[in-house]
Symmetry: C2
C-alpha cells in the first residue's frame, strides 16, 4: 500500500497566513474573535489546500465526533428476515449524512451487552447521541442513558417513565384499525399471532387487540412467537386445531404472515375465501404475494428519518416535544374479504 | 440532561502511581519501555478506576480509530426490499464487535458521492479500513482506494484489475448449477430476468447464463431490470408475450422472483406445473412462499463475517490471498419440477 498523502495541518494554514493557530481555528469553526477579512482569507486558503479538520482533533477540541450510534439487540438469524430495521437504518442514515454525521451500527446479543456498548461509546466520546429501539417491559436502558448523560431517542415506545424522548407509531391505533376492518368485513372469530410479549410494543398491541376484539375473539385468541418462521407455522397449526378456529388472523409481521398463509394453504384453506389474513408490518413482500396482504402501513424509512432528525435536534439542544407520534393507516389488499 | 460523569485521565493514573504519563501510556498500550511490575500496577489501577482511553486521544496518538466503514450506493427505496445487505452488515458487524471495532455505515446516491465519502473518512482518519460492494464495470473505486492508501475489501467481485482484495461468491458457478438443474429436469426454453448489467456480478451472471444455456435459451433469453417489483412484473409479461415463451425462468433475486410468480399466476400459469421458477438469492421468503422457491444458497451473514475477517487481517498487515472465493450450492424446493 502506498503512504497516505500528507495533509496540511492547522499550523500550516496559520503559518502561511501569518496568524495564530487559534485565530485560524476560530475562523474555520465560525467562532467570534477574528475579523471578517481574516475569516475570508483562512477559508480561501483552506479551500485551496483542501484542508479538512482531523476528525479526532475536532473531537478532542470539544467540537464533536459527528457520529451517532445505533445499537440493536437481536438474534442475528431472525434479524435478517425482516426488512424493517434495514429500512429504519437507511432512513436515519440519509438524514444524518446530509448533516455530515456518520452512523455507527452495532448489534448485541443481550440488553446487558447493549448497556456495556452504550457506556463505552459514551466514555470514549465516540458518539454524540444514540438511537435505541425494541423497548422491553422494565427496560433498564432509559435510566442508564439518562445517568450517562448521553442524548438518546427511542425508535418506538413511548417510554412509560418518560426518561427518554421517542418517535413512536401508535401501536394501539394500528391494531384497532385492523380489528375494525375485520369486524366490518363480517368476521366474528379473530386471533392474533404476536411477537414476544416482553417487547413493550408487542405487549401494547396484545392489550389493544384484547380490548378491540372483545366479544369476537377466537380461543386461543393470542399466541406469542419469537418472530421465527417455525413458530409462525406452529402457532397457525394450533389455531387450526382449536375447537372453534378463527375466521381471520392478525400476524405481527410479514414473516409470520407468509408462514401463516403457507400453513393455511397446506391445511387446504384458501385465503381469503376461507379465512382472512392481515399483517402488522408492511413490506414489498406483502404487495408481491398472492394474495397480496392487507397490512398496517408505515414507511420505516420515513420513520428512521424522523428519529434521526429528533436526535440531531436533541444533540444540538433544540427544544422538542418528548413524544412524537405517527398515526398508522392500513392498506386493504386481497387477503381480507367481506363475509 | 445531567453532566457526564468525570473520567480519570492518563495524568490522574500517572500521578497516583508516581510515574510519568508516557510510562503509564506504554504500560496500557502493551509497548516495551516499562518494567513488568509497573505494567501490572498501571493495569490494576486502570481497572480499579474504570479508566478507559479517550477514543479520540487514541486516534490522535496514532493508535487507531477502531472503526471500519461500509458505504453503499443504492436507491433508498429499492434497497429496503431485499434482506441481502442487512444480513451482510449483520455478519460483518458481529465479527467486528468481537474485536472491539465499530461499523460506520453510510449510503450514497452515486459512485461519485461514494468516492467523496471514502476520501473524507480517510482524511479525517475516521476509519481504519472500508468494505465496498456492488462493483461496476469500469468502477473507479479500487484505484481510488489504492491511491488513498486506505485498506479495503470488496464484498463480491473479484476486482478484474486485482487492485483490491475481495471475498466473492463464484457467480458463474451459481448460474451453471441452476441451468444444469433446469436442463436435467427436462426444460428446453430458459430465460433470465436479471438485475442491471452495469453491476459487474450481474454482467458475469448474464455471460455465464448465455454460455450455460447455449441451445436451450428462449427468445428473449435475458431481460435486465433495476431489481424493482415493477420491472420484474414487466419483464415477466414480456416473456409471456413471446412467440415461444420460456418453460423455466431464472430471477436474479427473491424480490424479482416473487413478483414473477405473481405475474405468472395472474396469467393463469401454475408454478411449477406449467413453468419452473428459480431465484439467484435465497432468503426466508423463498422458503415460506407457496410454492417454496428453488434458489442459490449462500448465507449473507456468513459472507459478511468473512469480509470483516479479511478486512481486519488487512488492517493489521497480516498476509492474505487477494481473492477468497466461496462456492455456492443450490436448494431445490417446490418451484421446479421434472418435465
Amino acid at each position: 500500500m502506498p503512504q497516505r498523502r500528507t495533509r496540511p495541518t492547522l499550523k500550516d494554514l496559520a503559518n502561511r497566513l501569518g496568524i495564530s493557530e487559534s485565530a485560524a481555528s476560530f475562523a474555520l469553526n465560525g467562532r467570534p474573535g477574528v475579523s471578517e477579512q481574516t475569516r475570508k482569507r483562512v477559508l480561501a486558503l483552506a479551500e485551496e489546500l483542501q484542508w479538512s479538520p482531523h476528525h479526532a482533533a475536532r473531537t478532542l477540541s470539544g467540537i464533536t465526533s459527528m457520529t451517532v450510534g445505533f445499537v440493536l439487540t437481536r438474534d442475528v438469524q431472525q434479524f435478517g428476515m425482516e426488512t424493517f430495521y434495514l429500512r429504519l437504518l437507511t432512513g436515519a442514515q440519509s438524514v444524518l449524512s446530509e448533516r455530515g454525521y456518520g452512523l455507527l451500527f452495532q448489534m448485541t446479543h443481550s440488553v446487558d451487552e447493549e448497556l456495556a456498548v452504550l457506556r463505552r461509546w459514551s466514555e470514549e466520546r465516540r458518539v454524540e447521541g444514540v438511537i435505541i429501539s425494541d423497548l422491553r417491559r422494565g427496560d433498564p436502558r432509559p435510566a442508564y442513558l439518562r445517568d450517562l448523560g448521553l442524548p438518546a431517542v427511542l425508535a418506538g415506545g413511548p417510554d412509560p417513565r418518560k426518561l427518554i424522548p421517542s418517535v413512536t407509531v401508535d401501536d394501539g391505533a394500528a391494531i384497532r384499525l385492523l380489528v375494525e376492518h375485520l369486524r366490518n368485513a363480517g368476521h366474528r372469530r379473530l386471533a392474533y399471532v404476536s411477537g414476544p410479549a416482553y417487547l413493550l410494543h408487542v405487549h401494547r398491541r396484545i392489550t389493544a387487540f384484547r380490548r378491540a376484539a372483545d366479544g369476537i375473539m377466537a380461543e386461543p385468541g393470542v399466541i406469542g412467537t419469537d418472530y421465527s418462521d417455525e413458530q409462525g407455522r406452529a402457532a397457525t397449526q394450533r389455531l387450526l386445531r382449536a375447537a372453534n378456529p378463527p375466521d381471520a388472523v392478525v400476524f405481527d409481521n410479514e414473516v409470520l404472515a407468509v408462514s401463516g398463509v403457507r400453513t393455511l394453504n397446506g391445511a387446504g384453506l384458501s385465503v381469503p375465501a376461507d379465512i382472512s389474513v392481515v399483517s402488522c408490518e408492511d413490506s414489498a413482500i406483502c404487495m408481491a404475494l398472492q394474495p397480496a396482504l392487507t397490512a398496517v402501513q408505515r414507511d420505516p424509512t420515513v420513520f428512521g428519518e424522523a428519529v434521526a432528525r429528533k436526535l440531531l435536534r436533541l444533540v444540538h439542544n433544540e427544544s422538542e416535544p418528548v413524544v412524537e407520534a405517527q398515526q398508522p393507516t392500513i392498506a386493504i389488499r386481497e387477503s381480507t374479504r367481506q363475509r
